[in-house]
Amino acid sequence: MDELLREFLTETAESLDHVDAQLVRFEREPNNGQVLSSIFRLIHTIKGTCGFLGLSRLEALTHAAETLLGKFRDGDAVTGEAVSLILAAIDRIKTIIDGLEKLQREPPGDDADLITRLTRAADRRRSRKSRSGGTAAAERRSQQIAAEPGDPAVIRNLPEFGEGAARIASQSIRVSIDTLDQLMTIVSELVLTRNQLLEVLRRQDDSEFNIPLQRLSTVTTQVQHEVMKTRMQPIGNAWQKLPRIVRDLSAELGKDIGLEMDGAETELDRQVLELVKDPLTHLVRNCADHGIESPAERSAAGKPPRGTIRLSASRQGGHVVIEIADDGRGLDAARITAKAVEAGLATESEIATKSQTDINNLIFAPGFSTASEVTSISGRGVGMDVVRSNIEQIGGSVDVNSDLGCGTSFVIKIPLTLAIVPALIIEVAGERFAFPRLSVLELVRIGSDHRIERIKSAPVLRLRQKLLPLIDVKDALRLGTNNAAGAFVVVVQTGNQLFGAIVDNLFHTEEIVIKPMSSKLRHIGIFSGMTILGDGSVTLVIDPNVLAQSLARARSRTKVPTDTAEEKPIGRQDAVSFLTFRAGSERPKAVPLSIISRIEEVDYRKIEVTDGQYIMQYRGELIPLFGFDRQPRIKKEAAQPVLVFSEQGRSIGLLVDEILDIAEEPFDVKIAGEGPGALGYALIDGVTTEIIDVGFYLKRSGSLGRAA
């Protein structure tokens, strides 16, 4: 293709996207002279280049659009109709450009219809203006003199609009995406070769290769980081088309919807950006279509008639978090339940045991759609599940929160980059796997200092003041029996969940290039990808998020020893581990596992009473004991289970009758507690459980003096 033409196409495509967004903004801010002049500049530039390249169709169209825009510059009223007309012209221009790209010349066609409407709209204004007393000469003068208040920028910039642009342009250059991709591929090769060399070096004791190789390794890492920076793009690029889409949707649906964007400068990898564009658009359409109510509905509900969709993006650790929120009608659990049952996704009784979060997540199930009839916009029933699977395929997650009547918010979490990540190489049942280093908090060797303990059948690790739930990786991968005899625990943090993964062996950390799972293996959720290690072996990369979900599954499997389908809903990222127990009444109680320091089995003889307060010895101190009855009954036989909590040097114990189990549930206290000492009730393992407020007891202990 002609080089000039190619450049024209690239630049114009960019400009047109920009014009779209600017026009939508201009419609809402008709007094913003800067926006108008920027639009005018863009159209004018396109027109000029078209004339130069002999593209007559485009030239005629842009000329007509520019004329109408000129009317606005003269101070004419900006009507939605006129803006729509200009947007239609932009769309026609885009179509012609598409044809131009394919045919290398303008596609034949007639734009007389559009041009006539544009000219007529402009004329109407001119005649209105003359009727109000202006003459043609006065018009020309007003175009030349900076008479309009607040608009001096417009006139001044027009003749010399090239200058400002040149200054910015010299700080950056255009590079073709193919070149950057090629560079990235070569750097990946470099990283792999560096890994191979390091692997060889590892097996030798001393070598003169040591120092230069270390230097090479450092330099390789630097190159890798710099090249990865070139792949970073602001997420605003994916948001560019959205203002126009929302505007068009508003018109189509008869609603009034505004779009707010925050954090558009947040950068992420170009590849990730490409993959997240469509899901983002779909979610925004979903908010406009299903979330925001009609102006009448909103007024009736006491809300402002204009609904708002808010996009925000920010960096959090190795991830980019994008939130799409609306202030619409929120998710209706009843409607979701009805639709899920109708679509055969679950039975009524199953749903009755689900938490609000789980019910909300049903909207992501394949085949689900609450649109009463399939709309062309977003109700196809294939939308949301594709959104989730697309995002999960790149190692991200999407969750939904909602407040009935107030709004809904989708939170997407995606990794900053897919390309090269540091991974910990672990071994389980003789096989090696890669574990993303970013999720690993620490490594613990099992031995005399740290032992794997069991609460009922669930393995836990006592780590400093916390009890960590454990998952046996060998078991999660069905590579062996669950004997939890592993030698190491990898402490992992994903979302809210802190847990440990039991492995047999730990090797080194290696920078790996993650390749996506083969299409035939993608359904195995626990692996996020594959890689070739420095020694040439293909290694599977474990997804810590999915491993965390195994926590709940392992629990339900040990309770129900049949092979029937898993009845437990898949734990989501906001699941927290709870310890359930019975104390003082038949109804079970629970506390979050993470705040328990120890679970002691205390000989009743070690418990004493002083001034009506039970105390016991604990690590050289005497700590107060609280029970849940008026008169805590101390078992006179066997050991008394006590939950010990420590905070800021203070410790207390809670007397319980029986430890029940550990369960993973979202922290969702449904009904507020009746009295002090309890936060309320929540559904844990399908049973209404009282959540204990440990803080209350810790405070009570403060008012007691230290027992002598």
Binding site: R478, L521, T539
Partner: protein, 147 residues
């Protein structure tokens, strides 16, 4: 006339059109994939490419004698992904006339029927011609996958 790459597995002779075959190599250093069905032999590294290896005998539910060491892999490219079909032995390339190809027998196992394009009656045995795409598309078991 069409050229077929021939190979044997579970005592049966098969063929794939030579245009569909990328390479033929010996099996070595394969990484097993936990939680995958029995038809997935594993993944391996072939000159920097990750190849997903499929066990043909398991895929077609063929009975294999215990001692058969499946050793050769027929490399097939599909949708820019590399796959390998693990077979017992690779044979020679045969040029066969399309006219000689007969429709698959009615009593052929349904799975095999789904993957085959026909059979050739050779001097002393029958060759089942497979379609690469349909073979790779065969519904794989979704057993025990942790979703």
């Amino acid at each position: 006339m069409t050229d077929y790459v021939t190979f044997t597995t579970a005592g049966q002779l098969f063929g794939l059109r030579i245009e569909d075959v990328q390479d033929v190599f010996r099996m070595a250093n394969i990484t097993r994939v936990p939680l995958a069905g029995p038809e997935i032999a594993g993944v391996l590294n072939l000159r920097g490419r990750i190849v997903t290896v499929i066990n043909l005998a398991n895929l077609l539910h063929l009975e294999t004698p215990k001692h058969s060491g499946a050793e050769m892999i027929i490399g097939v490219e599909r949708n820019s992904e590399s796959f390998g079909i693990l077979v017992d032995r690779a044979g020679e390339v045969l040029s066969l006339s399309d006219a000689d190809r007969e429709p698959t027998p009615l009593n052929l196992d349904r799975t095999l029927d789904g993957a085959a394009t026909g059979v050739f009656r050779l001097d002393d045995k029958i060759l089942v011609a497979l379609d690469a795409d349909r073979t790779l598309n065969l519904q794989t078991f979704r057993s025990s996958a942790v979703q």
